[in-house]
Symmetry: C2
Subunit: 569 residues, 2 copies
């Protein structure tokens, strides 16, 4: 176990590589991570002679020297590199070990390979501790190169491939870099709700969250097992009331004892209760509860319609208006029937919100954050980035470097439209017509960042007609203080704005846009009481992974992609 007695913040840089070049540390198991060997400056050669335990899965294996031993390339997912492992035939059935996908845990001694070998160190196996075999005839992931599309049908095994495991490590690094960046700058992480009864600006189709189906199923089952009473049953039960009533009357007129009368009255009450219960039960109908011809959501878990969030922005604003600098980082959802390579039904968003800040502060924060992410990958994920450059997109490292180093170009929406119109005049063809007032299409955004400026571009001050009610109205009364960050490869990476903090202005914007005020009363309270200038933005986390890795399909940069017709596992 690690020594955690030094203050935690001082330990952050430690990762798994010990500072002492001669010691390998196991992490909550007997084995050491392959990364802790390979990622040393000496590639592990300084560890020769050490006895260690290693675990991993065989990437490729081959027998050599007339089957006297086997060379196995072992990978444990801690880094892209494999450790070469040599097993002699007297240690285990080599035919088993050389199969791709076999799991192996071994004790052995690190040694320097013969001159001229690529690797800096290899492991000579003393003892095979564990084998998880693979029948190559049945294994869905043979050694041959598999397409990312094929792998989507094997989402539970695809993390065993070089590409998906590299993407996973890069995604992990981007997530930790995100938390580190905001922590460093004094932002508090606020976990905004997933289930919501608010709709952020009607940002698109929402998934509904319900227990109505399961409740209806339960009721249906119950009604089959215990059928509700028929009218005849109820009539019969009513007759019993009458009889019991007669009994009481008779006893009274016969001047029976108090006790006798009391007992008869109790029986009468029981009969009445029974009829009430029967009548109640006879009203039960199978199916989803209805009222006035509509679904009756008051019977649902939250006593009203509830949805999966499309953005945590409105909720996180309520925390910014108290704690100044906050951010949320969580899953968001869109129920759009979209089958493109850019859309998911479930995806992650990073949404910071800053109080006492205006649009320029927002742009500064967004630029610093994106640069920080790029620099982090260049510093901490070099091996995986090199893999992506070799196999997926040869420009990806250059792109990260350029974004990390180059000041972002900042232009107003009006300037952007003028530039696009100029381009059209000079012969550039766009599918979508360009004029002031349009929402920029992806082709326009990519032209600006990829062709015209060849660096990240921030477009700001958009026409109010194409933006949400909560964006701050500029003094020209035509535009709002919104901004989008455009980057090569993916186009829009970030969208943000200064929020309208003036109660009267936001109220008239809500009216102007024909929105009902009632659902936003709580949001308006933030302007009614101690209002503050504030701004924020949202970064689509998977878009950032696409940007970094050069992968084309967003379904390949999230562990378990959800899209129309598919929610495997």
């Amino acid at each position: 176990m690690a020594d955690d007695s030094t203050p935690p913040s001082a330990q952050l840089a430690a990762v798994t590589v010990s500072d002492d070049a001669s010691v390998l540390k196991a992490e909550f198991s007997d084995r050491v991570l392959i990364r802790s060997i390979i990622s040393r400056p000496d590639g592990g050669s300084g560890l020769a002679g050490q006895k260690i335990r290693i675990g991993g899965w065989v990437k490729t294996g081959r027998k050599a020297d007339k089957d006297a031993f086997a060379f196995l390339e072992l990978n444990d997912g801690s880094c892209a590199s494999n450790l070469q492992v040599i097993v002699k035939a007297d240690k285990y059935d080599l035919g088993q070990l050389v199969q791709t996908g076999t799991c192996l845990s071994v004790d052995g001694v690190l040694k320097l390979p013969p001159d001229g070998k690529k690797q800096k160190v290899e492991l000579d196996v003393d003892k095979v501790i564990h084998v998880g075999p693979v029948d190559p005839a049945k294994y869905p992931l043979p050694k041959t190169r598999l397409t990312l599309e094929f792998l989507r049908d094997h989402v539970h095994l695809r993390s065993r491939t070089n590409t998906i495991s590299a993407v996973t490590r890069i995604r992990n690094a981007l997530a930790f870099a995100t938390h580190s960046f905001f922590h460093k700058h004094g932002f508090l992480y606020v976990q905004t709700p997933i289930i919501t009864t608010s709709d952020c600006e009607g940002a698109g189709e929402m998934f509904q969250v319900t227990t109505s189906f399961s409740e209806a199923e339960k009721l249906e089952k119950d009604l089959i097992e215990n059928p509700p009473p028929s009218e005849a049953d109820i009539e019969a039960a009513k007759l019993i009331i009458k009889e019991r009533g007669d009994d009481v009357a008779q006893l009274k007129s016969a001047k029976a004892s108090k006790q006798e009368i009391g007992a008869a009255v109790a029986e009468l009450k029981k009969a009445k209760d029974n009829v009430l219960k029967m009548e109640e039960r006879s009203k039960l109908k199978p199916g989803i509860p209805q009222k006035d011809g509509k679904v009756d959501y008051t019977q649902d878990f939250f006593a009203r319609q509830a949805f999966l969030t499309v953005s945590g922005q409105l909720q996180v604003e309520s925390y910014a208006c108290a704690l100044s600098s906050v951010y949320t980082f969580g899953p968001t959802f869109r129920a759009e029937n979209s089958h493109t390579s850019r859309h998911l039904a479930e995806f992650w968003m990073v949404e910071p919100e800053i109080a006492f800040a205006e649009l320029e502060d927002d742009m500064n924060c967004a630029e610093a954050y994106v640069k920080f992410l790029c620099q982090w990958l260049l510093d901490d994920c070099r091996e995986d980035m090199q893999f992506m450059a070799d196999k997926i997109d040869k420009t990806c490292i250059d792109r990260l470097t350029m974004v990390a180093k180059t000041p972002f170009k900042r232009i107003t929406y009006t300037e952007a439209v003028d530039l696009l119109i100029d381009a059209v005049k000079k012969g550039k063809k766009f599918e979508n017509h360009v004029e002031w007032g349009i929402d920029l299409a992806s082709e326009h955004e990519r032209y600006l960042t990829e062709v015209l400026f060849q660096k990240p571009v921030i477009v700001y001050n958009y026409p109010k007609g194409i933006k949400a009610f909560y964006m701050r109205l500029n003094d020209d009364l035509k535009t709002v203080a919104a901004m989008d960050v455009l980057v090569p490869k993916v186009g829009e990476l970030i969208g943000g704005s200064q929020r309208e903090e003036r109660y009267d202005v936001i109220m008239s914007r809500i009216e102007e846009m024909g929105l009902p005020a009632e659902p936003y009363e709580w949001y308006l309270d933030l302007r009614r009481f101690g209002t503050v200038k504030h701004c924020g933005f949202g970064l689509g986390f998977e878009r950032m992974v696409l940007f970094a890795t050069g992968i084309d399909n967003i379904r390949d940069v999230i562990p378990f992609p959800r899209y129309p017709g598919r929610a495997d596992l």
Copy 2:
């Protein structure tokens, strides 16, 4: 903007306090955080003479010296402490400024207060930059002490209170500490899915995710606006087919031109298509799609029933069986109609999973993680922890210290039951009967950790009958390699187990428990191909916040609590 040119990992300890004692740094706005003044070792006194901009909300304000100036306690949420701000009457309407909840942004000069004052530094205001006023007659959060229960009805404003903002900062610290711990030990963060078609061990009631209601509503609206064709309409349209057919026949027998015949055939085709469409449309029925008397989920977004996850464990296992050390940290859901102070419908879970590891490694990891969290709070959240100790639970700091320093007691379930039976013999009364085979109740767990051992206790090797199918069967064939971490104040904080890696054993466990194998085929694949010993656990994040803060109700330690009947915002 901050200088981000040094490698990110080297910057982590920076937070917002500059190392240079004479410089205050603004973070993406003109203002400096109050924390960056107050949290200095000198309490900010060394900054006297500096001109700065500050923003925040007035906690309390009072006029003094015959209304010549006002003293305001200003808080910006960056720390528990307020900064005392002094405004002279010629700067602004003091009657406005002294109202609790007023937002204020000011330029001023830091100065040393007169001797004998509690604060080390105060701000003399030069200029009032912004005021967000409050009408005290309407403000829902007056200065008087408010109960946490009252605040739950004002979830959008409650982060402005001392208690909820302190809880928010502690929760933020625990989240960052969690990511830091796993990063440090080489674990990769894997974001497991929120929407799922798997059910983790049938762990309780699940919320269903659907678009069926909104689709049905759309269809209903459409059918009102464009009523489906009647049978008579369709018959009339069929007549047109006949007419068009006759036209074609006539033209053919009249040896009309190819062109004329072609046009008539096209008309005929059109008429036929029209009938097909009308017939299709006439079949549309309002309401949720049904098939064979049941809801037809093939029409739903994911083409099957989909739910909100109750745990990411099964999915994260698929990553552990490729990348060795992984964890998920995300929202999980239970649709239980539970109104206790310990249950939420939406809550966050931390779930690490380690390959090449057994139950003891699991316990080591859990113990190291909990200790790390406690030490982190003691190091980094001292002021907020002191606030909780003063206002909520005077034992909370002692509890953190004890857990950070004391080795956890480890006992088997059998030993635990024996100890409880002993206690009963000696006169201890439990509501729930104790015998081997029972699931330990909360009262038993708290007795073990709070009374008997007075420190954290790990109970392991539980009877298989009360545990899930995926837990590894011990050699005694009666118990499984499960473990629970019990801590004072909350009882069970962590539940974990070694997972059954043997294909034959897990298959017979599935059969034994009467579970269908089909939904778990993907999970069984992890055992079929390259199986590995692995283990993991889950920590209920809100339970950890309860444990740390001493707050009693779980609804007060999550920003936006969800429970039966309530999903505000």
